[in-house]
């Protein structure tokens, strides 16, 4: 955190000054480790084993926060008899080896079907949509067992039932012993025990522990389950919804949170509404029945979605035409950026916009990315400088290896200079869900323009060109609301007008104050329901800047946090079931009986007048069905999920699997890799996978590579490698290795190393440092190679891209690539240039016996 989010790290140091213990768990020693109470290196790719070990410790020692667990988690809920845990083989019930999928019905609560509040919500579409048709037809007898999904699942508050979540959890994590943590992660038992004792001693009524993570947890073939493991641990310890608690994702781009909330992502609509998948006879009601919940705030999905459709299609969206629900394009499986690259290579995807992204060096398997770019008809690159993705056709690595020739590349390239943040007005959403407005200081120079300008005027031109078309496919375009006021010498659209549309309007046209005002009858509009209120009273709430010194520690009058300016989500859980703070030290939001309402330091994340002892009627639905203790208001059962009966594709509980390419066998299960990871769609000669562990050939790639950032550069370098100040601070690509590895491989400090995988070979300056230490994993010494991934051949600070080495092998839930742990070789000297570079890659593949089938098995 001190490296990549240095200014945010000041708050960790403030906490430390007030007595907090800071433990840094990371393969490398960093500026964070330097000031932490302890640095515990672990093997990259082993975090589920580590966190699972902590869960096992908490359960075995009885140090979980029992009152919290009983009140606010699903610990007591009974799970279906069909569920069978991942035992020695590492497979949960419902696995289909032919299709490499799970039937998630094998993981549900007993006698009911619950919907997830996030993640994959289309899994049971047919069941759930059919139930809606049955319900609509009044044929109650056809419900079967699935029809009871409005009724709560049975539970056992004594936590003794063998199929209650708590007992399942205990059995599942029993194999994650301190000895196993030591063998898998390379963390000595004594160190592990110290961490376990520290976090349990620091959790409970009086104290809270926070976990802070970044892409070190997400960029794995089992990344979502990393976060799930932390969620289980923090829920058991009572550390969610409370000050000083939580699982904080430190995100790496100014508005990467905003571009997830208002998603430029294939699988989502604004506000985490799922993009519809293709289904026969799908209409708005069937979609809402299938994707929504019966209880909690996702039960209001129809209001959020109809309000979104009204924002986009205005008066054309009517009750008679399902509010233009059929204008939304439909998904058939994954259309992630990696599938898009394969579609480019196949010739199906012909045009590509790159809007502040540099996949030619910034995405996994950079060679495959460039192969995609070279297969396009046209490419639009909008950026500050001539990044590698704009110039691959004349100076990409494949030109020098002879794989491509400039005169053969048919891609038409438009480079359009982009406006900087000082040259446009708009809001960023930071890593705490805080929207902050930045104001235009000057107009952009030359041809530079904002994305707001580009998108608005592109849309205007396309609409004009198709204005005379009677084709049905153009109706969504004709009917689109696309009339924003423009000003200035460039006709810049008004960002504030767009923000007002995002906020939404009530029936009278006035800005809504809250998402609770949204209706499903077409009378309201809202471009992103979780942002409703950011323009309350016609005031840009994101532009509020009451100085921090003039406010309390929550600082509610600086910017605006979604939803409803709440700074901590699920903060009802900061009070006990009766509504009193768990302790005076940790008071945050509480029930004020004299006023009959929730109050405190933050906006309560709960119906403000719902008393703690509220019990809903049996037939209540939606928010009204939440009891006074259902703190997790987005969840279908109002509970934090220790066990996830829906929403995940690779198991209701996390299990440790090794990375796609790993020199270590899976010691916890016979299943080596995540059985449902995504690799098959990316079979390509440029994306060969490696043998793992005990397989012949794995010895060729005996080291573990991990990628990361440096303080002085930013992601793929488009905003940093061209800056003289930053280029001087970090002038070229390097790798970090331990003195022991240097000795083993004959590598010299400040010399050159060649690093190899089945995908490519790269060269890097060698930094021999004790910041990386060899670890003992199952009695064997494992060396790790640290690779900052900022580089590429263009700009002032140059070097090979670490992403040349990485494979496209993805997490099945979110389609994120595994770049945080993969096996490699390292040897002294520079890599060959020209065709010899390719020959070296082929030589590695031959030595390791790699074929198109290697590493593809479930």
């Amino acid at each position: 955190m001190a490296e990549c989010h240095p200014v945010g790290f000041q708050w960790v140091m403030e906490a430390k000054a007030r007595g907090a213990t800071v433990i840094h768990i990371d393969p490398r020693f960093t500026r964070t480790s330097a000031v932490a109470d302890a640095h515990v290196p672990l093997r990259a790719g082993s975090d589920i084993a580590f966190l699972g070990g902590l869960i096992n410790y908490v359960l075995e020692s009885g140090k979980y926060f029992k009152d919290y667990v009983l009140a606010y988690t699903n610990a007591a809920t009974i799970v279906t008899e069909d569920f069978a845990d991942a035992g020695d083989d590492g497979l949960f019930s419902g696995f289909d080896p032919d299709h490499r999928t799970y039937d998630v019905r094998a993981w549900q609560y007993e006698g009911t079907e619950v919907q997830a509040a996030s993640g994959e919500r289309d899994e049971l579409y047919d069941d759930r949509a059919r139930m809606e048709q049955v319900r609509a037809a009044g044929r109650g007898e056809a419900h079967g067992s699935g029809g009871a999904h409005v009724e709560p699942a049975p539970s056992d508050p004594t936590l003794a039932h063998p199929r209650c979540v708590f007992q399942i959890l205990k059995r599942h994590f029993a194999r994650y012993t301190p000895e196993m943590v030591e063998r898998v992660c390379g963390i000595p038992r004594s160190d592990f025990r110290g961490i376990a004792e520290a976090i349990t001693a620091n959790s409970g009524r009086d104290r809270t522990t926070v976990f802070v993570y970044s892409v070190g947890w997400t960029q794995h073939t089992v990344g979502v389950q990393y976060i799930r493991t932390a969620s289980i641990l923090q829920s058991l310890l009572g550390n969610i919804g409370r000050p000083g608690g939580g699982i904080l994702a430190l995100r790496g781009h100014a508005s990467i949170q905003g571009s997830t909330d208002i998603p430029t992502l294939f699988d989502l609509l604004p506000g985490y509404i799922p993009m519809p998948h293709a289904h026969s006879n799908e209409n708005l009601n069937a979609f809402v029945a299938a994707e929504g919940t019966d209880k909690g705030y996702w039960a209001e999905l129809r209001s959020y979605l109809v309000s979104l459709l009204k924002s986009w299609w205005g008066p054309a969206a009517t009750a008679e035409n399902d509010y233009c629900f059929d204008y939304l394009p439909r998904l058939t499986g994954s259309h992630s950026t990696y599938e898009t690259v394969m579609a480019q290579i196949a010739g199906d995807c012909r045009g590509y916009f790159l809007l502040g992204e540099n996949p030619a060096v910034g995405s996994a398997n950079a060679r495959l990315q460039r192969r995609g770019l070279a297969s396009l008809d046209w490419l639009v690159v909008r950026d500050f400088s001539l990044i590698e993705s704009a110039t691959f056709w004349k100076d990409g690595p494949e030109i020098s290896t002879g794989e491509m020739r400039t005169e053969d590349i048919g891609t038409e390239v438009f480079f359009l200079p982009a406006a900087a943040h000082t040259e446009k007005s708009g809001s960023f959403t930071n890593t705490q869900r805080l929207l902050q407005w930045h104001h235009e200081a000057v107009e952009p120079p030359g041809d530079a323009r904002s994305e707001l300008w580009f998108t608005y005027h592109l849309g205007r031109r396309v609409r004009e060109k198709l204005a005379g078309s009677a084709d049905d496919r153009d109706r969504p375009l004709h009917d689109l609301t696309w009339d924003y006021p423009v000003s200035g010498s460039h006709d810049e659209p008004s960002a504030e007008a767009v923000l007002a549309e995002i906020n939404g309007r009530d029936g009278s046209g006035a800005p809504v104050k809250s998402y609770t005002q949204l209706r499903d009858d077409g009378s309201t509009s809202c471009g992103c329901w979780i942002y409703a209120g950011v323009y309350a009273d016609g005031v840009n709430q994101a532009a509020r800047r009451t100085p921090g010194k003039e406010q309390d520690w929550v600082a509610p009058a600086w910017g605006w946090a979604w939803p409803a300016n709440r700074r901590i989500l699920y903060n009802r859980a900061s009070a006990d079931p009766s509504g009193r703070p768990w302790s005076s030290r940790k008071a945050y939001v509480w029930w004020d009986a004299s006023r009959g309402g929730w109050t405190g330091h933050d906006i309560p994340d709960f119906a403000v007048d719902k008393p703690p002892d509220y019990v809903p009627d049996d037939d209540a639905t939606g928010a009204a069905a939440l009891s006074g203790t259902d703190a997790f208001i987005m969840q279908a059962d109002g509970k934090a999920w220790l066990y996830a009966p829906a929403g995940l594709l690779d198991g209701p509980l996390p299990a440790h699997y090794e990375p796609q390419d790993s020199p270590v066998p899976n010691l916890l299960h016979s299943q080596q890799r995540n059985p449902v990871r995504q690799v098959a769609p990316f079979a390509h000669p440029d994306n060969r996978l490696q043998p793992s562990a005990a397989e012949p050939g794995s010895e060729v790639f005996g080291y573990v590579a991990t990628t990361y950032r440096l303080t002085e550069h930013h992601t793929a370098g488009g905003m940093s490698r061209w800056l003289p100040y930053l280029a001087e601070l970090q002038p070229s690509f390097f790798c970090e290795i331990s003195p022991e590895l240097a000795a083993e491989r004959g590598l010299e400090h400040l010399g050159w190393a060649t690093i190899a995988t089945a995908r490519n070979v790269i060269e890097a300056r060698v930094l021999v440092t004790r910041r990386l230490r060899p670890l003992t994993v199952d009695g064997k010494v494992i060396h790790q190679v640290g690779l900052p991934y900022h580089w590429g051949p263009n700009g002032r600070s140059t070097g090979d891209a670490a992403n040349e080495l990485a494979a496209v092998s993805l997490d099945p839930n979110v389609h994120i690539q595994e770049v945080k742990a993969f096996a490699c070789d390292i040897r002294p000297g520079r890599r060959p240039a020209g065709p010899a570079r390719l020959a070296l890659v082929r030589d590695y593949q031959r030595r390791a016996g790699i074929t198109e089938r290697t590493g593809m098995e479930p």
């Binding site: 240095p6 945010g8 046209w378 639009v380 038409e412 323009r449 921090g548």
Partner: protein, 185 residues
């Protein structure tokens, strides 16, 4: 001031500024210097464009040009601090590495050529329409999809919420589904 008082090293040894980082290092020339922030016409409130901490920035403008960017001491997020990248954002926004003109590479071409922005926008609009048509699908396996796989988009994490909103809205209305950003990566 005697002649020897004008020697910084003498003052460094004589006074309390032993490391020469304050008064000892001052000369008449440096005494007369004023920060760029002092002469600015206005200060515009902004947010750092790099990571997602969201540090506050004060953007100093003189004669319609950005002359300095400082941390905003009012921000409860950052309390006036900026990291090396945030501190370099003046160079990011006003430095010589920024391209200011449209560049165009024709299919199979071996060099960039100039193109005016209006022509480029018109050509891009035509290409969107053509790629959309080429990749259009009314149905897949008999199920309506009403979409195009003909063009795709990547990017948004460095952009404003309002920009992401328009990108998602326009491209979805065009039937595109391959709309992605760094959050996937």
């Amino acid at each position: 001031m005697t002649w020897i008082d004008s020697w910084p090293v003498y003052r460094q040894l004589r006074d309390s500024d032993r490391f020469g980082r304050g008064a000892a290092a001052k000369s008449r020339a440096s005494e007369d210097l004023a920060p760029r922030t002092k002469a600015a016409d206005k200060v515009v409130k902004s947010v750092c464009p790099y990571c997602a901490v969201g540090c506050g920035q004060d953007v100093y403008v003189k004669d319609e040009k950005v002359v300095q960017i400082e941390g905003d001491p009012d921000s409860p997020v950052s309390r006036g601090r900026l990291c090396p990248k945030g501190s370099a954002s003046l160079q990011l926004t006003t430095g010589g590495a920024r391209e200011e003109r449209v560049k165009y590479r024709a299919p199979f071409g071996d060099q960039w050529v100039d193109l005016d922005l209006d022509t480029a926008m018109d050509m891009i609009a035509d290409r969107v329409i053509a790629a959309r048509a080429a990749g259009w699908q009314d149905e897949v396996d008999g199920t309506p999809v009403r979409r195009t796989l003909g063009f795709a988009s990547l990017g948004g994490a460095t952009l404003d919420n309002e920009e992401n909103y328009l990108i998602k809205k326009l491209f979805t209305a065009l039937g595109a589904v391959q709309i992605e950003n760094q959050a996937r990566i």
